[in-house]
């Protein structure tokens, strides 16, 4: 059971929720996926004719000489490919039901500085987007805040369970900052934006060192509310990554310097021009989350966007994480990875970029790898997971097979034949 509330702030600590509790604890019969092509950690090629055993919500065993436990439910994996469930590292799944409707969209935050904001509080595990995403072979997502120089905290969720308590794995995964063209315009200029960020972290550092004075009203004035100052402490301690959306190469340079000065655990997101800084990024061991289809100079801070930047970054030794940055299209993570391959990335590396790499970027132990002891988030694909026409045939979250019925399959069934009638009669 994941409990990372301890130092996430006074208010959060009050809520003694056992996140990811019930679904994981529940007993399920063991499952054996046999004779499949299995992607295992380590970067090597997949293992042919392997067996994967799931039990108690965990991966029990993976290999070619693994025995099928008695009483196990067998999934014939002949001709199939098995991977760890895909992880989309930057989404709005569960917080955006209909993007254009303010009442059905909780992704964007208000104001430039809201580090205390937690996406977990707005997460709806019953969103119609979740089964659709899961049917695309995505078993976990990072639900990230949008907009704002310091936008708030993401949640890490498994795409199963009817309650927040069941679905949420990490209620406060990472802090988010934006230093792109749009945010600079909000604040005024790039310089003003970085000054705002420095000021916020400086305030938080001062607060950490002068808590007693702060509580007795003897502190110097601070720009942030107490709840926001508290939220930045795990970031300052290096316990929580700071995911920074930034595109222009020179902005990335500033971001690397900023993180180095403050000793922050930086993750870059968006990062259209990161390929120009790939050696520096590799040296700083900073992971990069990007969408390989974003190859256009859509804005002035990404005039040097390239469609092969994932391949270039990976080639320089940067840990590349592929994401859709989407809500409703998170189900197409496989296609993003496939396009990274089309544009020069190694196929196995592209698989890792949606499994191991996101888990590593956020320190999610037990995720993204098919190995004994890992969380049993597993997908059985009808073929190459990154190829058009392949389907996720079995999706397991914490060892339990998930229904692949979605609101879309219900619509399809209703209109499969015309004229349509509500009860299916003609």
């Amino acid at each position: 059971v994941s409990r990372v509330l301890a130092r996430a702030g006074a208010l959060a600590a009050l809520a003694a929720v056992v996140w990811g509790g019930r679904a994981q604890a529940e007993e399920t019969p063991p499952i054996a996926i046999t004779h499949a092509l299995v992607y295992v950690p380590g970067g090597g090629p997949p293992i042919a004719d392997a067996t994967v055993v799931l039990a108690g919500g965990k991966v029990q065993a993976v290999g070619t000489s693994v025995a099928t436990p008695p009483g196990a439910q067998i999934v014939d994996g002949r001709g199939k490919t098995v991977t760890a469930g895909f992880i989309d590292a930057d989404t709005e799944v569960g917080v955006v039901e209909v993007d254009g409707e303010p009442g059905a969209s909780d992704a964007a935050t208000r104001g430039p500085l809201s580090p205390a904001l937690r996406m977990v509080d707005g997460y709806d595990p019953r969103s119609a987007v979740i089964p659709v995403t899961r049917a695309g072979g995505v078993t976990s997502v990072v639900v990230a805040p949008r907009a704002g120089a310091l936008a708030g905290q993401s949640a890490f969720v498994d795409l199963a369970g009817d309650t927040q308590a069941e679905a949420v794995v990490r209620p406060s995964l990472a802090q988010y900052a934006r230093a792109d063209e749009d945010e600079a315009r909000q604040v005024g200029t790039r310089g003003a934006l970085w000054m705002t960020l420095r000021q916020a972290f400086d305030d938080a550092r001062f607060y950490a060192a002068h808590r007693a004075q702060y509580d007795s009203n003897a502190s110097r004035p601070l720009g942030l509310r107490r709840i926001d100052l508290e939220a930045l402490l795990p970031v300052l301690r290096g316990e929580q990554p700071l995911v920074m959306t930034v595109h222009r190469a020179s902005d990335i340079e500033t971001a690397l310097r900023f993180a180095d000065e403050l000793k922050l655990r930086l993750v870059l997101a968006g990062a259209s021009e990161a390929w120009l800084m790939r050696d520096e990024i590799a040296k700083a061991k900073v992971p990069v989350i990007l969408d390989p289809l974003e190859d256009l100079p859509t804005q002035f801070d990404r005039l040097r966007s390239r469609s092969d930047s994932a391949a270039l970054l990976a080639g320089a030794g940067v840990s590349v994480v592929l994401s859709t940055f989407s809500s409703h299209n998170a189900r197409l993570l496989w296609q993003r990875a496939g396009n990274a391959v089309r544009l020069g990335m190694d196929h196995d590396a592209a698989i890792r970029a949606v499994t191991e790499a996101p888990a590593d970027a956020f320190g999610l132990k037990g995720y993204g790898r098919l190995a004994a002891g890992a969380v049993a988030n597993v997908v059985v694909w009808s073929g190459d997971p990154l190829q058009i026409g392949t389907r996720a045939e079995h999706v397991f979250v914490r060892g339990r097979e998930q229904s692949l019925e979605t609101r879309q399959t219900l619509l399809l069934n209703r209109y499969r034949t015309l004229p349509f009638t509500h009860d299916g009669s003609r």
């Binding site: 859509t298 005039l303 089309r342 026409g389």
Partner: protein, 503 residues
């Protein structure tokens, strides 16, 4: 010379069907008059002279027939149901000279021979819904020219007058196998204005890039966008019923406008019979033509059937309401664009001969997109309707082939009996029909324009890359030799070529 004819005097060279549809082009006024002689004259041609000047290309067009190109040893998919493995395509003087199985009829003198072993050859992709050039990248206030949000009916506009040929997205689309795009105004207005069909070669302006002989097309929009835009301005329309009323009122005015011109033309005819004498004051009034109104003129031409209607509509009920308006004013809808709920009323759309241009699986970004399903295109095709994949986005416009592959896969998984040829037609023949250029492009057939793509592998694969792209038989993209950018804007900025791809 052939090209100059096509370009400057295409009424002579272009087939009748296209000529009739493009009757508002002055070069076609002969044909238009010929039609008008049979049908009652709705809009007489007096303004053809003004149109003539408005239609005159001022760019110099250096069209040189390329050397013959023979692509051999490839899997050739013609989009007419044929698949040659191996097959060949011979391009000569801008046209497809021959296509078939085997190595072809020998190598013509001076021909470039492309050994395409293991590769696939298809017609160039036609994207029927693009805003490239009018909503170019980089996004800037200086070039945000896609939506004229000052009136809900802006039928007098032409997208070509917003088109910025330096849009960096254009070359990327070609690198995705796209050879023709329908550039449309945005959907903020009920009638956004005329679109322009662009043939993908780098040139100085929209008129020089205009697909020769392409008919006029009109962008219309129903549903959320117009009512939101004008509702926020506290203006009509602010509801769907407001949308429909505004449209009906506009077409009612256009009908009167057409009748006024018709009356005037009849009076002129009468005067002609009476002879040149008897010029009194009353006669002078009679001789005065109605005031010209560009918007009403466009709508009148729609009702005459001379402009193809490309109608942005998502929901089934919105499409049904649109068909009612079209029925009331006696015009046809060529295609509903986006049309995410087409599957719910595919029988109606098929009965009305309306095509759809849509994505493979976009959904949920607004209420009217909430019921989108990936099987939409497949179900429409199964019902006997025309479907096309469109982009509406410069990102999606680079991977339209993948969209067709995904829509095919979704349909097959649902048990719909469709095949690769159907999927290919979503990319080529069907969008060409929706833009009224299917007699010129969309299939690999002798006599058609040589818009041809050589793919690294099956184009319905995620990994397929367009390696060679020909427009009118000229090589416009070669992945192995990507040179200076098309866009002047990207000079000195794009430090490396567009993706070569491949490890």
């Amino acid at each position: 010379m052939r090209y100059r004819e096509r370009y400057f005097a295409f009424a002579l060279a272009a087939p009748i069907a296209v000529a009739a549809l493009a009757a508002c082009d002055p070069e076609r006024s002969q044909t238009a008059r010929a039609r008008s002689a049979q049908a009652p004259a709705v809009v007489p041609d007096p303004f053809a002279a003004t149109e003539s000047r408005a239609r005159m290309p001022i760019e110099s067009s250096e069209e040189r027939p390329a050397a013959p190109v023979l692509v051999q040893h490839a899997t050739v998919m013609t989009a007419t149901g044929q698949r040659f493995e191996p097959g060949f395509v011979l391009m000569r003087e801008g046209e497809i000279a021959a296509v078939g199985a085997g190595d072809g009829p020998g190598t013509p003198a001076g021909a470039v021979v492309v050994d395409a072993r293991g590769k696939f050859v298809t017609p160039g992709i036609v994207d029927p819904h693009s805003h490239m050039g009018v909503a170019p990248v980089p996004e800037s206030e200086g070039h945000d020219d896609v939506n004229e949000l000052t009136d809900p009916i802006t039928a007098g506009l032409r997208a070509e007058h917003s088109f910025w040929p330096e849009d960096a997205a254009l070359e990327r689309a070609v690198a995705g196998g796209v050879t023709t795009i329908g550039v449309l105004p945005g959907s903020g207005n009920l009638v956004g204005g005329r679109g322009v069909v662009i043939h993908m070669s780098p040139r100085a302006g929209a008129r020089a890039m205009r697909f020769p002989g392409s008919p006029e097309i009109l962008k219309m929009a129903c549903g959320e966008n117009p009512k939101r835009v004008y509702g926020e301005l506290k203006r009509a329309p602010s509801t769907r019923m407001g949308n429909v009323r505004a449209l009906r009122e506009a077409f009612t005015r256009a009908r009167k406008y057409a009748h006024d011109w018709e009356d005037w033309a009849r009076r002129q005819q009468g005067r002609g019979l009476k002879g040149a004498g008897g010029k009194d004051a009353a006669d002078k009034d009679e001789a005065k033509p109605p005031d010209r109104d560009l918007a009403l003129e466009t709508l009148a031409l729609v009702m005459r059937g001379d402009i193809l209607v490309e109608w942005h509509c998502y929901q089934a009920d919105d499409m049904l309401a649109a068909l009612e308006v079209a029925g009331e004013f006696g015009f046809k809808v060529r295609a509903f664009h986006h049309a995410l709920e087409a599957y719910k009323i595919r029988d109606v759309l098929v009965a009305h001969g309306v095509g759809i241009a849509t994505w493979d699986d976009w959904w949920g970004f607004k209420m009217e997109a909430y019921d989108g399903i990936p099987e939409n295109l497949a179900l429409m095709t199964e019902a006997g309707g025309r479907g096309a994949v469109h982009s509406d986005s410069p990102i999606a416009g680079q991977i339209l082939n993948q969209a067709a592959g995904k829509a095919l896969a979704a349909g097959r998984a649902a048990g719909v009996k469709i095949d690769e040829n159907d999927a290919l037609r979503w990319l080529t023949a069907n969008p060409a029909w929706e833009l009224g250029i299917d007699d010129q492009v969309g299939t690999l057939q002798a006599g058609k324009r040589a818009d041809v793509v050589v793919w690294s592998e099956d184009p319905l694969s995620t990994y397929a890359r367009a390696e060679l792209v020909y427009v009118d038989g000229r090589l416009v993209f070669d992945r192995s030799h990507v040179g200076a950018p098309w866009s002047d804007f990207e000079l000195g900025v794009r430090s490396m070529p567009v993706p070569r791809g491949g490890p």
